[in-house]
């Protein structure tokens, strides 16, 4: 019986502490300005003729109090593809030919990353806030434990190559903001998307500090034939291989037969 009482007392105490904590910190985390978001679509279907997709991101800032006059409100939108480890290699001349010598493994780099802002990036977000929320492209890539001297150069190469190929982008001044309340932007997603959950984040900032944050997910999935073939190749590899061979042999034979007919006919 005694242990039961003690249990009640402890749980009662826990509830009290929790509600106190909520009163103290909950009020602080629930900010005065919040994001109400809309997406033109929260699903991207990769079909056979998939040719990239434009996602319209729009929303409003909900607030209980009048607009504070301290600093203008700014908006940052980021979309991040699935993160995966990558190997970055560097070539060097050795015995007259160019050979991969050094390599650095980057622990986690998004396959796709786009940042859109309502003003120049340096004005919208301070460096400390960037470090905390990992907003900029540089911060979105995580590489710890690279032992090689000059590992930074490898990370920069990764960013440079992916930016050139359109997988990473920083687009400043493309989020339009009306009356510090309504915002809207369109982000282009390339045709070479890989499947997965694309984490979408919206930050409201004032004076370089994040005042509110909203997160949602855009699903990118293969559909139809693409889905079927991908699944088959993973679940029934021998069957998939045979299918590939049968198609190859039949089309080879078919072409020969058709040409024979054409020549005779």
């Amino acid at each position: 019986m005694g242990s039961m009482d003690r249990f009640r007392m402890i749980s009662g105490l826990a509830v009290l502490i929790l509600s106190l904590w909520w009163a103290l910190f909950g009020a602080r985390t629930a900010s005065a300005e919040e994001v109400v978001l809309g997406l033109s679509h929260d699903r991207v279907a990769i079909t056979a003729t998939f040719d990239g997709s434009e996602i319209l991101i729009f929303g409003a800032v909900k607030r209980e109090t009048p607009i504070s006059a301290t600093a203008p409100l700014e908006v940052i939108v980021t979309i991040s593809g699935p993160k995966e480890p990558v190997m970055v290699r560097r070539k060097e001349r050795s015995m007259g030919i160019w050979v991969n010598t050094d390599s650095v493994a980057v622990d986690s780099a998004p396959s796709f990353y786009a940042v859109a802002t309502s003003a120049p990036f340096s004005e919208v977000l301070s460096d400390t806030e960037d470090l905390r929320h990992k907003v900029s492209i540089r911060r979105a890539i995580r590489s710890v434990g690279s032992t090689l001297e000059g590992a930074q150069a490898f990370k920069e190469a990764l960013m440079r190559i992916r930016e050139e190929n359109g997988f990473y982008s920083l687009q400043e001044n493309v989020v339009s903001l009306d009356e510090q309340t309504l915002f809207r932007t369109a982000l282009q997603m390339p045709a070479d998307l890989i499947e997965g959950q694309y984490e979408t984040r919206i930050f409201l900032t004032r004076d370089g500090t994040v005042v509110s944050q909203y997160e949602t997910v855009i699903e990118v999935n293969k559909v139809g034939l693409e889905r079927f073939l991908f699944n088959l190749s993973r679940e029934q590899p021998p069957l998939y291989g045979l299918l590939a061979l049968i198609i190859a042999v039949l089309s080879g034979w078919g072409a020969a037969a058709i040409f024979q007919l054409l020549r005779n006919g």
């Binding site: 990558v86 560097r90 160019w98 073939l229 590939a244 198609i247 089309s251 080879g252």
Partner: protein, 305 residues
Amino acid sequence: MNIYLPIAEVAVNAFLVLGLGGMVGVLSGMFGVGGGFLLTPLLFFIGIPPAVAVATGANQIVASSVSGVLAHLRRRTVDLKMGGVLQGGGIVGAALGIAIFNYLKSLGQVDLFVTLCYVVFLGIVGGLMFIESVNALRKSRRGAPPKRKQRGWVHSLPFKMRFRTSGLYISVIPPLAVGLFVGMLTAIMGVGGGFIMVPAMIYLLGMPTKVVVGTSLFQIITVTAATTMMHAITNQTVDIVLAVLLLIGGVVGAQFGTRIGVLLKAEQLRILLALLVILVCAKLALDLLLEPSELYSISPIRTAK
């Protein structure tokens, strides 16, 4: 028109891929080479991941070879018996090649090794063929009949077998060895190996040029089919959509190629093939020698799925 490839996970221009397939198909039909030595690097160039390019390339070669072989069968220019012996060696060779490939992969320099293989083999084969066929063409211009191959050490080996279509009575050891060697190259370099086999058949085995092309295609079918299956099962890198695009172009091209091949003289055919081989070799060698514009390269570290 862009097409999204489900396995490669990239979007490519459908007409570009059709054109690539067609071009390689024409070569395949003309020379009896699978065209892999050309197709695989070209696929890298348009942005297909190397693992997918090698595996899918093998599958495409199956199709164009079937198409080519049927055309040759009708003209009775395939030595089925010789092909069978070559295939026997080829499958053993492919298994050996896979083992070597995986060992090199564990050392981490497989890309360089494959490129060096290309440069060395294409260089030697292309150079030899070019010199030989220029000489042969000069002789035939002067009106002298082309000399029949003299009987060398190849003909003194045991286990002789009669190959009626080729008009040969030779030991089975050289064809088995050729098949084995080419099978190994297939697995390591991701090519059909026709560019090695055609000269080996002509110069080493002394087969008549007429049957060489068809027989080579016949052997390539088996070895590349085995390679496709191995890739599909172990790496899951065969992209059927890419393969279908390539082979629509390829099979049509192969038919045209076979017709063009009939119109040309054997020596001319060999000079053209030699030039093509030398060209690809020079391109790859330059890539190794010149400073690349981008020193860095990215490759995803795929965790086992």
